[in-house]
């Protein structure tokens, strides 16, 4: 699957299905009708044995997409299930829970938050009934506690009626370094990272089949969003690029066969932003100048560039001017 530039494929989820690859567009059209026709029938893709992903749309949250914009999913062991991110609303969380129940009746023992963003954490209330351990980076609870009001009111604006019943669930278990979860037959590894996409990024690795859930540490096709530290993120990518994984699940966009290419594209963009912003700072330029000049040639390589690039440059500017 090659890197796409330009227009969005409305339902990238279907791109994952090997058996449909030959007639991708037909499937997309079918997929649109199918999704429209049976709302709540969540489509899952088993990206690796036991790893199920509900792919999000490459869009900003809106009443139309009901906030289903992030990749969320779960990992099934022989003993129990670990949910990896929960979506933007109680409704989306409940849809994911139903989808899990179509696959397995094993208990949902863990809900893992990959980071604080509302499109990933706000569906957690759907799983309170399972009394799982809610697990996040050691800095996640503090980050969410500070943002609760802001995130909930933003989500309410985005989702309208679909927001109903949504509440924030804070993690009751904190990860520093690496934490292992035995799901029965497979022990997954949660790794807490230094500040990068946010100050509470957590990845999930399954050594039994080499699958890594990078979540929002990797944006595929959609412009990466900096809400932590551009320097930290670049450092983390340096470390990641030396590792070998069979399957990498990004937070947004499809699972691609050559994940290192997707990582390289993201790295190229963030590098260009850092280099460009540094140059504006060195020439005593302003934030506004940086926003209009820096990495403008990346425009055609990403979805949602207009929506997020200016903020990325601004965030990088206020970080890099302290170097």
């Amino acid at each position: 699957m090659k890197n796409r530039t330009g227009e969005a494929l409305p339902v990238p989820v279907n791109e994952q299905r090997k058996w449909f690859r030959g007639s991708c567009w037909l499937v997309l059209i079918f997929g649109m009708f199918w999704q429209g026709g049976c709302m709540g029938g969540v489509e899952l893709v088993e990206v690796a044995p036991g790893h199920f992903v509900r792919f999000g749309l490459q869009q900003e949250p809106s009443p139309q997409n009901q906030g289903r914009i992030a990749n969320i999913g779960f990992i099934v062991g022989e003993r129990c299930v670990a949910v990896i991110d929960t979506g933007s609303s109680l409704r989306e969380g409940l849809e994911l829970r139903e989808a899990i129940r179509r696959v397995t009746q094993l208990p949902i023992a863990y809900v893992v938050f990959t980071h604080m963003h509302p499109d990933h954490v706000l569906g957690a209330k759907a799983f309170v009934q399972d009394a799982p351990e809610f697990i996040g980076h050691a800095q996640l609870a503090d980050a969410l506690a500070r943002r609760e009001h802001f995130y909930l009111s933003a989500a309410k604006t985005w989702l309208g009626a679909n927001f109903e019943g949504t509440e924030l669930v804070l993690p009751n278990s904190a990860v520093t370094g690496i934490r292992k979860l035995d799901l029965g037959g497979r022990t997954i590894e949660l790794e807490a990272h230094p500040t990068a996409h946010t100050n509470n990024d957590l990845t999930v690795f399954d050594p039994t089949n080499g699958t890594l859930w990078l979540s929002d540490l990797l944006f595929v096709e959609r412009l990466p969003v900096i809400d932590g530290s551009i320097l930290g993120w670049l450092r983390l990518m340096e470390r990641l690029s030396g590792r070998d994984y069979a399957v990498v699940v990004p937070g947004h966009g499809p699972v691609v066969e050559r994940w290192t290419h997707a990582l390289a594209a993201q790295r190229r963009y963030l590098d260009k932003v850092a280099t460009g912003v540094r140059e504006v700072i060195r020439n005593n330029g302003s934030i506004s100048q940086a926003v209009s000049q820096v990495a403008a040639d990346e425009h055609d390589h990403w979805l949602l560039f207009e929506e997020n690039h200016g903020r990325n440059v601004t965030a990088s500017f206020v970080e890099l001017e302290w170097e």
């Binding site: 500070r146 009001h149 802001f150 804070l170 100050n199 932590g228 506004s288 206020v318 001017e321 302290w322």
Partner: protein
């Protein structure tokens, strides 16, 4: 008259310090629809508090204000103020108010100038909480008041938690940095940028774990002097972005020293001095 408006400005600043009252203001702001007339109503209220019934004239011949029409990040909205008339000891702007109508605490900053030196540009970064008019109001040394304003589309800048990494922020609190371009040999104006590491907590963020508002903790006053002479001072408030930045034009002299002193709302003080002379580079 000046004393009275000073007092009232103090009242506004004091109101900003009290989280509960600020919250009430926030709610009022959130509830009122953002129609043009409503915006004017809010401005009339602010204007009454700041200037009483004094006349506020069109300042387009005196001042220019540059803001993005749509902010990229509501917590970091760049604002540049330019003087269109040479500042001389005979005629100068002695006070400059930066007002963001629809923010919970609308008076973002009040700059004071001694009037001895010319300046052409002053920039800072502000938080914008809702679509709003941003105003710059200059009071000249003869007591006349002039205003320019721009409309800015941004929202959520005050209640959003801007600190992306609180641990790093706490470790660097109070650090002061000066950025200077190569000083021109002819002694013309240079733009110096003052940066202060400070979370500038607005007091508007509720912490669900502690069940309390994160206390307001923001830079309240900055004084800048050059070779012992004040360049400007500013009374600042919660609408100023995290890690306050002020970029200002001034004329370096041979063997000069810039001094900065900063005081925050919790009483902490920070100070720093930098050798900045003609022909020297920062």
């Amino acid at each position: 008259m000046t004393t009275v408006s000073n007092l009232k400005q103090q009242v506004l600043v004091t109101i900003a310090g009290s989280a509960a009252l600020v919250l009430m203001l926030v709610i009022t702001t959130a509830v009122s629809p953002l129609l043009a007339d409503e915006g004017n109503e809010r401005w009339l209220e602010i204007k009454g508090l700041l200037f009483g019934d004094r006349e506020v004239r069109d300042g387009a011949s005196l001042l220019a204000l540059e803001t993005p029409y749509r902010a990229m990040d509501a917590a970091v909205v760049p604002v540049e103020i330019k003087t269109l008339v040479t500042q001389t000891p005979q005629t100068y702007i002695k006070k400059l108010y930066l007002v963001i109508d629809n923010n919970p605490s609308p008076v973002a900053a009040v700059f004071h100038f001694p009037g001895k030196k010319d300046w052409q540009s002053l920039s800072t970064r502000v938080r914008v909480n809702a679509y709003t008019d941003v105003r710059v109001i200059g009071e000249t040394n003869d007591g006349a008041i002039y205003m320019v304003s721009n409309f800015v589309k941004a929202s959520g800048g005050c209640s959003a938690p801007p600190t992306k990494d609180p641990v790093a922020a706490a470790a660097n609190l109070g650090r002061i940095k000066f950025k200077l371009p190569e000083a021109p040999a002819d002694g013309s104006q240079i733009l110096a940028q003052l940066l202060i590491k400070h979370p500038n907590n607005s007091g508007l963020q509720f912490d669900q774990i502690s069940r309390n508002f994160i206390p307001a903790d923001y830079v309240r006053r900055i004084e800048v002097s050059y070779n012992g002479e004040p360049v400007f001072s500013v009374d600042s408030d919660i609408s100023i972005s995290e890690d306050p930045s002020i970029r200002f034009g001034f004329e370096p002299e041979a063997g000069g020293e810039l001094k900065v002193s900063v005081k925050d709302s919790t009483g902490r003080t920070f100070a720093e001095s930098f050798g900045v002379g003609k022909g020297e580079s920062g």
